[in-house]
Each structure stands twice: as C-alpha cells, then as structure tokens.
C-alpha cells in the first residue's frame, strides 16, 4: 500500500472541499448558485466552530499520551450549558459571571479527572466515562429534567449572528481561539512538555518535566475548554436539553483522529482537529440533507470513522 505523503490536516481540508462540492451537486444542494453556496459554506463553518472548540480539549488530552481520552466532555458541555442558561436568564449583565462559572465548573471537573488518572491510576477511559455518568446524574438531580432560563441576547448577537462582513461572530472567535491554542502548543513550555509526555513519560520525567503536574493541568484545561464549548453552544442554539453535549462527544474524537493527531500521543496539532471538525460537520450535514434516517446516519458516521482511522491510525507492527 503506497505510503500517504500528504499531511493529515491538509488531506482533511481537501476531503472537506470535496464533500462540500458534492453536497452542492445533490438534488436540494446549491447547484450553481454561488451566493447560496457561500451562505451554506459560512453556515458549515459556523457549525464547525462548536465541534472544533469541544474537540480542542480532546486534542490536548490525546496528545498527552498514555491512552488519554476524555469521554466526559459531552456531559461537561451539557452541564455548563445549563448553568449558563439558568444563570443568565435573559440578562446581559450575567454573561461574564456565567462564562466564568462555566469555565470554572469545567476546570474543576477536569481536575477531578486528572486526579483520578494521575494519583489514583485509574485509566482515562474508565475515569472519564465514570465521571460522565456522575455529571449526568448531577444534572438530573439539580434540574429534575426540566430547566428554566434563557440565553442573554448579547450572546446570540455575537455568536450566532453575523458580526463583520456578514461573517458570524463564532467564526472570529474560532480564529482567535485557534491562534491562542497554536501559541500554547508550539510556543510555551507547557506545549513542549505536553508533546514530551505524550511520547515518553520516563524520558520527560528524567528531563525535568513534572509529569503529574502536566497531567493535572491538561485534564483541567480540557475541562475548561469543554466549559467554553458549552457556553458557546448554548449561545448559538438558545436552548438546552439533556443530550446537548452528547452529540458532540463522538464527533470530537473523530475530528481529532481525522486531523492527524496520533492517537497514541506525542504528535498532532489543533489545525488538524479544525480540519477534522470541518469534515465531520460536512458529513453530518450531508447526511441530514440526504434526509436519511438517524440509524443510517449513525451507521455511516461510525463506518466513516473506521475507514479514516484505518488510513491514519495504523500503528507500528511487530514484523518489519
């Protein structure tokens, strides 16, 4: 099998473009109407923002290696979305406190995950999956299944509506966010250490890296970013429901994988995840446009991810 020489993020972008063009050729696609095409492209980009931000924390955790994964981010998104929803209750004045609360809650949950993984030596898969159950239980407890509240108008204004040049604010937010994340990963001690512990924790430790501290910081950061995701998502849709975050969990992992971040850790970039988020959003919207049943959509999504990781996720074999 010929070795693939295109870097995964670039391949993902190419795939995204192909998918987008294909969507235009469908019966209820945009056909040759450029203005509709632009509008749809903008919409896809806007939708990708939220998956992209939820997948950011996932990216960090997967880079940190040692089978790192965060299966609690969906639940964190839901919880923080609810908190923002209830705290704001339609008032602009509460936006900042609500945002801070979302970030703080996400960070605390992430920290708990990190403590379980680093100190209690619980496997990340099990720890975060268990945490997801706890959070979901907590959500049920506090709101008995029904929440009352409302998003602050200013959130919708900035996130969902066009801000400049008819581009929704969410996209600007994403661009700034991506820039910051690039800075963190490539130009800080934290970022360099993150890649190090992802490759080889012993070497990292013997080179002065505080591995435990890094693990705690990474899980906390991932939780915080999931909280940010919750804030933005509720700002975009204006409603909350119990499975709000769950719809992002699987695609977030898929986005990271498609984007070329090594699932074993130590290599990757946020740009790859962004491209992956684009691809995933396109696939989902394509499937919806084709008016397929949810069951078929799910099968295709699952099958697609299997195919993607078959191409990019293969690990070193025993025989060379």
């Amino acid at each position: 099998m010929k070795k693939i020489s295109i870097s995964p993020p670039v391949a993902a972008v190419i795939l995204a473009v192909i998918l987008f063009i294909s969507s235009g050729l469908l019966p209820n696609g945009y056909g040759s109407d450029v203005s509709i095409a632009i509008a749809q492209a903008t919409n896809i980009l806007r939708l990708s923002v939220f998956l992209g931000i939820v997948a950011a924390g996932q990216t960090l955790i997967i880079i940190s290696g040692s089978e790192g994964i965060d299966l609690s981010s969906g639940a964190v998104v839901t919880l923080t979305a609810i908190v923002v929803y209830v705290m704001c209750n339609g008032r602009d004045s509460m936006v900042i406190p609500a945002l801070l609360a979302a970030l703080a809650i996400g960070a605390v949950i992430g920290l708990l995950n990190g403590i379980g993984v680093a100190y209690l030596k619980i496997a990340p898969l099990v720890m975060t999956l268990g945490m997801a159950g706890v959070i979901t239980g907590l959500i049920l407890v506090t709101q008995h299944g029904n929440v009352s509240g409302a998003v602050a108008p200013i959130m919708t204004r900035i996130i969902a509506r066009p801000l400049l040049f008819r581009i929704p604010g969410a996209i600007f937010i994403w661009i700034i966010f991506a820039g910051l994340l690039w800075l963190v990963l490539e130009r800080t001690v934290y970022g360099k250490n993150l890649f190090a512990i992802g490759v080889n924790r012993v070497t990292a430790r013997l080179s002065g890296v505080n591995v435990t501290g890094m693990v705690l910081a990474t899980y906390s950061l991932a939780g915080l970013l999931a909280g940010l995701g919750g804030f933005l998502i509720v700002g975009n849709t204006g409603v909350v429901f119990i499975s709000l975050g769950d719809t992002f969990l699987f695609p977030s992992i898929a986005a990271v994988a498609v984007g070329g971040t090594l699932l074993s850790g130590g290599k990757g970039s946020y740009f790859g995840t962004m491209a992956g988020a684009l691809v995933l959003t396109l696939i989902t919207s394509l499937l919806t446009t084709m008016q397929l049943d949810q069951s078929v959509r799910q099968m295709i999504l699952g099958g697609t991810l299997l195919v993607m990781i078959s191409i990019y996720g293969r690990q070193r074999g025993f025989r060379q």
Binding site: L125, G130, G133, I309, S310, G313
Partner: protein, 322 residues
C-alpha cells in the same frame, strides 16, 4: 517475609479484593432487603444480573488480551432487536432455535469486525470499538426504529422460571463459565492470552501468534455479548435499540473491579463475575435504600467511580505510609 507472602497472594489472585467487596455489598443489600437470600428473590435478582455477568466475562477476556471492547453494549442491542423482530409471540420452536443460533453468529461476526481492525490493521482498541459501537448502534436502530417486538412466551418463561436442582438458571451458568475458563487457562491458548496481554512484543518474539490471539478475544467478546443479548431479551420479552447502552461501561467496570487490570495480562473471568454481581447488588441497594428517585442515577455513578478509585486510594495510602 510476611509482607511478601501477602503481596504474592494478592498478585496471583486479584479478585480477592472484589470478593471482599461482594460480601460487603451483599451484607448491605441484606440490610435493606431482608428477604435477599430467599429462593424467589435470588431467582429474580439472578435473572437481572445475568446479562451483565455474561457481558463482563467477554469484556474480561478482551481486556486480559490487552485490548478493550466498548462496542459490546451495541452488539447486545443488535441481538435484542433481531430477536424481537424476527420472533414474535407465535414463533415456532424450530424458528426460535434457529434465530438463537443465528444471533450468536451475528455477535461473533461483529466481534470479528472489531478483531480485524484491531489485530490486523493494528488500530487502537478504544477508538476502533468506539467507532464500531456507533456503527452497531445504528444497525440496531435500523432494525427496530421504535421499541416494540416480542419473543415467544415459552422461552421467556424458561429463562424466568427454570430451576435446576432448585437453583435459578444463573447459578448453573456461572459454574459452567468458571469450569470452562479453568480449563482454558490450562491450555496453551490460555497461556498465550496472558502473554499477549502482559507484554505483546515479548510474546511476538517468542513466536506467540499475537494477532490470532487478539482477534480471538474480540470474537469471544462478541459471542458473550450475543449471549448477553439473548438473556436480556428473554428478561424483558421486548425489543429496544438502546437496551445495551448502559451495559458497556458496566461491563468494563465489572471487569476492572474484579481485578482484570486495563493494561492486560492480569486477572480472569472469576473477578468479572464477582464485579458484575457487585454492580447488580449496588443497584439493588440504591433502589431499596429509599434514595430520592432523582438522586439514584447520581448515586449509582458515584459509587461506580468510588469502586474504581478504591484500589488507587489504598495504594496511595500504603505508599505514603512506607
């Protein structure tokens, strides 16, 4: 010297801790439900526990080999939806038997798919089985978009009421599983399994057929998931595409609590069975302890996390002391 002896025992028998937990859980359950040990209550509890027990056994085998299978719940759902739609209250015994055998093959096929991706394409188990869980869940939903369907009364009665030597079905199946496992451990295959899970590259250099072993664990897991699917279908007598969702985490938890470490090469199915029993008893305790309905999900999840954290906490305390 005594310390080494204790560690040696604990290491070679990782399910001792689980056994303690089991006794504790049974005691607490008994406190809330005094008729726990009567035949009828045991019977009804066992029926409910059996699907998870079967699933946990399959999961333990995969984990032992160094992998993990988080698509098992979805396989259970597929089996359930197939049975619910293909049988019906009026299905003939021949058709019933045929379908029961068929779904076993379906389970193995699903496991083979997982096994293929993990062993031969060398993909990571977590992501692979996560993706396939989505695929399988979609299939289940496709087969049965809305809860419904049914199975013949005869077999659900069989599942519910059979007593062999006065014991519920579960009390027969568990010893059979343990016996089979004991024999497997004495075979070369059993040794290979522990080797592959313990240190795969060393096993490879020793000419252990690593890929084949890994593949087989996923097929075994698919098979056990199918058995679990049959059990749960007979228990509920109905079909539901999301019936298996909650079971996946529980199967992993049961195996881990029972001493089968996620890194592989350690543990066995005895522990997984104990773990599944513990989880079942905890659920009982929560529902009998008069906890507010809204708190129950939280309580269940919190206890699971606690059970997972306990070995780590104990280890931490021990290290701080020494």
């Amino acid at each position: 010297m005594k310390k080494i002896r204790w560690q040696y025992i604990a290491f070679r028998n990782p399910y001792l801790f689980a056994l303690l937990l089991l006794i504790l859980a049974a005691a607490v359950n008994f406190f809330f439900e005094p008729d726990l040990f009567t035949r009828d209550t045991l019977n009804s509890n066992m029926r409910v526990f059996l699907p998870l027990i079967l699933l946990a056994v399959g999961q333990a085998i995969v984990i032992l080999g160094g992998g993990i299978d988080i698509s098992v719940g979805a396989i259970v759902s597929i089996v359930n939806t197939i049975l619910a739609t293909q049988l019906g209250t009026g299905a003939s015994p021949q058709r019933t038997a045929l379908m029961l055998v068929a779904v076993l093959f379906v389970g193995m096929a699903a496991g083979a798919l997982n096994g293929f991706f993990v062993s031969y394409l060398r993909l990571q188990p977590i992501i692979t089985t996560y993706a396939s869980s989505f695929l399988f869940a979609g299939v289940a939903l496709f087969i049965l978009p809305a809860p419904g369907g049914s199975v013949p009364d005869s077999i659900s009665h069989f599942y519910r009421d059979t007593t062999f030597l006065g014991l519920p079905l579960g009390f027969i199946i568990i010893p059979i599983l343990l016996l089979v496992w004991y024999l497997v451990q004495q075979t070369r295959y059993g040794r290979y399994l522990y080797a592959v899970g313990g240190k795969a590259d060393a096993a490879y250099q020793t000419a252990v057929p690593v890929n084949t072993i890994r593949f087989s664990t996923y097929v075994a897991s698919g098979f056990m998931a199918a058995l679990s699917g049959i059990a749960i279908t007979l228990l509920t007598s109905a079909g539901n595409a999301s019936i298996g969702d909650a079971l996946t985490l529980s199967s992993v938890t049961a195996a881990v609590i029972g001493g089968t470490a996620l890194r592989g090469g350690v543990g066995g199915i005895a522990g997984a069975i104990i773990g599944a029993l513990i989880l079942g008893l905890i659920k009982n305790i929560i529902s009998f302890a008069n906890i507010n309905l809204w708190w129950q999900t939280f309580a269940n999840a919190a206890i699971i996390v606690g059970a997972l954290a306990a070995p780590g906490v104990i280890e931490l305390v021990r290290r701080k002391r020494s």
